[in-house]
Symmetry: C2
Subunit: 342 residues, 2 copies
C-alpha cells in the first residue's frame, strides 16, 4: 500500500492546549506522525510519496470561503493585533447569537470559526492542514487511477472540522475534502467510515442532508466523550440525506467484541449503500493505552479491523485521524494497514 | 430614590478572567458594588433596603429550568470532578452541533450553557446572581406599589445572560426577570432601555418574538465590541415581536452629542410604545475612563441622562449592569440617579 505523507505536518506544533479547563502540554504533537512514518517504513508497507498541490478550490467545495480565508491568515492577524504565542477563542455564537455577520474583531472571528479552545491555532497550522488536504487529494488520485488502497499520513486530523469551524485538533476536514473530490471526479456514491474513538461531527454535518456521501461512525458515546454535541444514534440524515447517516455510540467500557459488533452493523449499512469508494477516517485512539480515550483495542484488534475492511471489497482511502499514545501509534496504524494488505 | 442592595454580591469574586485569549485580573470585582453603595449613601439618595426572597419560580419564567439547575450546582460539580479554582468552558455547540441533548460530561455542560470564557464561574456565583434577581423583584414590588423609581444595586450584571447560557460576566438576566414579573403582575407593556456600553444580547433574545416587552439599546457596534454576535440595527424583532426591538449601535469614537441623539431615537420608539414600566439596564461603562470600553461620557453626561429618563415619565426600575472604572463607578451611577431625582 502506498502512503502519501504530509511532510509539512510539523509546522503545526502547539506546546499547550486547554483540556478540561486547564492549560496542559499538547496531546496532538508532531511526534505522532514521525512515529507512524518510522513504522510504515520499517514494516515495508510500500512507497512513501509526497503530495501534489491541487490548490484551494477542492477545499472550498466543503469549507466556507470566508472560513478558509480566516484560518489562512489567522495567526498573522493574531500577532498583528498584539497576541502572543498560540491563539485561543474566548467568545462564541451559540443559541440566539448570529453567525451570519462576520465581526471585525479578531477575537470574535476566532470564536465564530471554532467549537472549542482545545485546538491551538499556531503559526504553521494553516500550512500543515492545507498540505494534509493536498495529501488526501493526491491519495484519492491514486485510488481513482486503480490502486486498491492508499494511506494518507498527516496531521493535524480533520474529522471534527465543520464547514466553517475548527475544533478537536482539526482545521480542514480531509475526509470530507477527499469524498467531495471523488464525487466531483464522477463517482456516484462515496462512503465514509469513521473508526476514530471520537465522533466525526464535522464530516457528518458536511454531508448530513446529502444522499451521495454516506457517513457511518463507531465511537465513544458523546454524552461523555468529545465532541459531546453530536454523534447520537438518532442522527440519521436529513432531507435528501435521510437514511444516509449512521452512528454507533458505545459506552466507554465497551468490550472489544462489542466494538466489532458495532463495526459489523456499520459495514452492513455501507454494504447496502454500495459505495464506489470507501474513505476510512482512521483514528487509533481506540487503543487501550490512549491517554485521552477509553476503548481497549490493541494490535491484534487493529490487525483484525484491517482484515475486515479489506473484505468489504471497495477501493479504500485511509486518512489518519486521532491516536495519542505516541509511541504505540505507528505500530497500531501499521497493524490496520498490514491487516488490510493481508 | 430607594435602593435595593444585593449584599450577597461579594460571594461572586473571581480573581482572573480570560480577556482576549489571556488570563488577566478580573474586571468585574466586588469593589464595584462597594464603591456604588458608598456613593449612594454619601449622596443621601434614599433608603437602602435588603431584598425579599421571591424563590426560583420568577427566574424560571425567563430562564430554562435545566440551565438554572446547572448553574446552581455547577461549581460544586466542578470541584467534585477534580476541578480547581474557577471553571472555564472549553467546548461549545455552535452551528450544526446540538443543544437539545444535555451531555453527562461536566465540561460539555459548562460549554453548552455559556457563550464565552470571560465569565468565571466561582463558588459563590449562583448565590450572588440569585440574590441579584431577588433584589430586582423586590425593587419591582416597590415600583408596582407606587414608587416613582427604585435602584437595584447588584452584581454580577445580567443583560448578557440568555435564556439558557451565561456570558459577559452575567448569569441571571435581572432586567428580563423583572420585566417578566411585571407582566405576570398584570402590566400590559414593559419597556427595557439598555444604556450599558455593551448590547444586552440576552435581554433582546429573551423577548425577541414578543410584543409585550420592548427592548431598545444604545451601545458600541458589535462588529468590534462585545458581545460581537448580536446588537445590529437590522434586528427589529420577529413574529409577534416584529417592530418591538430597536438597536442603536454606535462607533467606538462616537461624540457625546451623537450618543444622546441615539438615546433620543430609542426614547422616541419607547414613547410610541407607551410602556407602563421602564426598566433601565444601567451600565456606566460608557464612561470615558472605563478600562474595557470606548465611549466618553462623564459626570455631566450621566446627570443629563438621568434628567432625560425622568422626563420620559414612566415608573422606572434602574438595574445595575456594567461599569469597570471601579473608583468612578459610584460617582457615575449617583449622577444618573441624582439627575433623575432632579
Ligand atoms: Zn479521536
Ligand atoms: Zn457593559
Amino acid at each position: 500500500m502506498q502512503t502519501v505523507y504530509n511532510a509539512g505536518h510539523a509546522q503545526h506544533a502547539a506546546t499547550h492546549e486547554f483540556f478540561r479547563g486547564r492549560l496542559v502540554p499538547a496531546f496532538e504533537v508532531p511526534a505522532r506522525a514521525d512515529y507512524i512514518l518510522g513504522a510504515v517504513q520499517k514494516a515495508g508497507l510500500g512507497e512513501v510519496l509526497v503530495p501534489v498541490d491541487h490548490g484551494r478550490a477542492p477545499l472550498e467545495r466543503v469549507h466556507a470561503a470566508r472560513y478558509l480565508r480566516f484560518i489562512a491568515g489567522a495567526h498573522t492577524e493574531w500577532l498583528a493585533t498584539g497576541g502572543e504565542g498560540d491563539a485561543f477563542p474566548a467568545v462564541w455564537p451559540v443559541r440566539t447569537l448570529r453567525s451570519d455577520v462576520e465581526p471585525a474583531s479578531f477575537a470574535a472571528r476566532l470564536g465564530l470559526y471554532s467549537m472549542d479552545s482545545g485546538t491551538p491555532l499556531t503559526a504553521g497550522s494553516w500550512a500543515a492542514a492545507y498540505a494534509g488536504a493536498q495529501a488526501s487529494l493526491t491519495a484519492l488520485d491514486l485510488v481513482l487511477a486503480g490502486q486498491r488502497s492508499v494511506y494518507v499520513l498527516t496531521r493535524p486530523p480533520g474529522h471534527h472540522a465543520g464547514a466553517d469551524f475548527f475544533g478537536g485538533y482539526c482545521f480542514i476536514n480531509n475526509a470530507a475534502v477527499a469524498a467531495q473530490a471523488a464525487r466531483d471526479a464522477g463517482l456516484k456514491r462515496v462512503a465514509i467510515l469513521d473508526v476514530d474513538y471520537h465522533h466525526g461531527n464535522g464530516t457528518q454535518a458536511i454531508f448530513y442532508d446529502r444522499a451521495d456521501v454516506f457517513y457511518a461512525s463507531v465511537h465513544g458515546d458523546p454524552r461523555t466523550e468529545f465532541p459531546f454535541f453530536l454523534g447520537h444514534a438518532d442522527e440519521t440524515g436529513a432531507g435528501e440525506g435521510a437514511g444516509c447517516n449512521a452512528n454507533f455510540p458505545l459506552p466507554v467500557d465497551v468490550a472489544n467484541e462489542d466494538w466489532f459488533a458495532a463495526l459489523e452493523q456499520a459495514l452492513a449499512r455501507l454494504t447496502a449503500y454500495r459505495p464506489e469508494l470507501l474513505v476510512v477516517s482512521l483514528g487509533v485512539d481506540t487503543y487501550g493505552g490512549d491517554p485521552i480515550s477509553h476503548f481497549k483495542l490493541d494490535e491484534p484488534e487493529f490487525r483484525r479491523m484491517g482484515r475486515r475492511l479489506a473484505a468489504f471489497g471497495a477501493p479504500t482511502l485511509f486518512i489518519q485521524e486521532g491516536g495519542y499514545a505516541t509511541e504505540a501509534i505507528g505500530r497500531n496504524v501499521v497493524a490496520v494497514l498490514g491487516g488490510f494488505e493481508g
